[in-house]
Amino acid sequence: MEIVRRRRAIGETMNVTPLARKAKNQKLNDEQNTDRISNLPDAILQRILTLLETKDAVKTSTLSKRWQYLWMSITYLVFLEDDGPDKRKKRVQFMNFVERVLVLRDSSDLTLFVLSCDVLNDASCINAWISAAVMHKVQVLSIGLGSDEDSRCNSEEPIVLPHCLFISESLTYLSLTYFNLKSYILLKVPSSIWFSSLKTLKIRFAVFPDDRSMQQLFSGVPVLEDLTLDACCWWNVRSVCISAPMLKT
């Protein structure tokens, strides 16, 4: 009696459809290639989707109706513009893709947001995406921005990252990389900066504008533990004091 009760209890709490298959079916073979993956609970399928690059996760929406909306609750977003020969042609598709994913996904908070693409003439779009990630309380943010060698866009004009990024309370990891540029890009920062949770900051290939803004940046990281400044230009900066009491490396 006790066992029967418990048996039911185990079955019910785990919320798993009992697999009513006969013992003789237990040996698997190629012919018996039935769709079992779709029997898995949403939580597990979403866990698998979270491990994929975003484009692969979104692609599963076309597997079957069961999968159509599952990707929308992923909390890891990774957008890497490819570097192929027909890069420019795919640009519009890439921009549409990121836009659609951000609009269609549900309102759950983001854990990770990785964006690597050329800026070209889309600085305002890219800023809106970064803002969207910050609004969704992203914890890990990695941004790589570049411009194509032969593009006619004005690479001298720095992209000014949105102010909300610099006062994010949720951000624990921020990596900023400017790549593939003829000239280094000026890192413009707003006048008020407060990363209340930021533990890791990495900046690569940036030109620091002046003493004052650098001072602001390094005074707004109260819990910073890990700081990496790689291939950055300091020629505008005479001295700066980094005040981060928790800094380890």
Partner: protein
Amino acid sequence: MSNQSESPNPTSSSNKITLKTSDNEVFEVEEAVAMKFCTVKQYFDDENNNNVTSGTSTTLIPLPNVESHPLAILITYCKKHLEIKANNADNKKEMEIDMEHYEREFLKNVMPQELTELILAANYLNFKEALDFFCRAVASAIQNKSVEYVRKFFGLESDFKPGEEEKLREEFAWSFEGVDED
């Protein structure tokens, strides 16, 4: 950590636990292995609390949602997991390398359909490490593959009406470019 394989004849011993699958097969496993299955652990703990009088435990734990085939694989995986952990108790890096090596070999002998079955079983048993591993395995198997490949891998068929799938593909056109060869 000793590594005896489960014997079909349950011999009453205080550190063995007997598991009974949905297809009525009985597995006797060491307590350390069974305790990695949180569902079993929970059951075991509850049972112990209720029966304080029973000294030597010969508890038979029914697993109505797990078949013998995935359970046997999970037990093997679990034993190896514990063994690797015990062998490298003081070296986390070595442990990770050994584990990775074992997992790579492990996947060579697992069919895609089996993987799903293992996930279901690991999920039911609440065996965290195995569930993580199998989910990672599925993800890496379908990473950068075509939709057709993934359907075949999972053994599922499209139930979209004509035109619906094409529309979805158009909407997310960028993600369908440049997939690996199947």
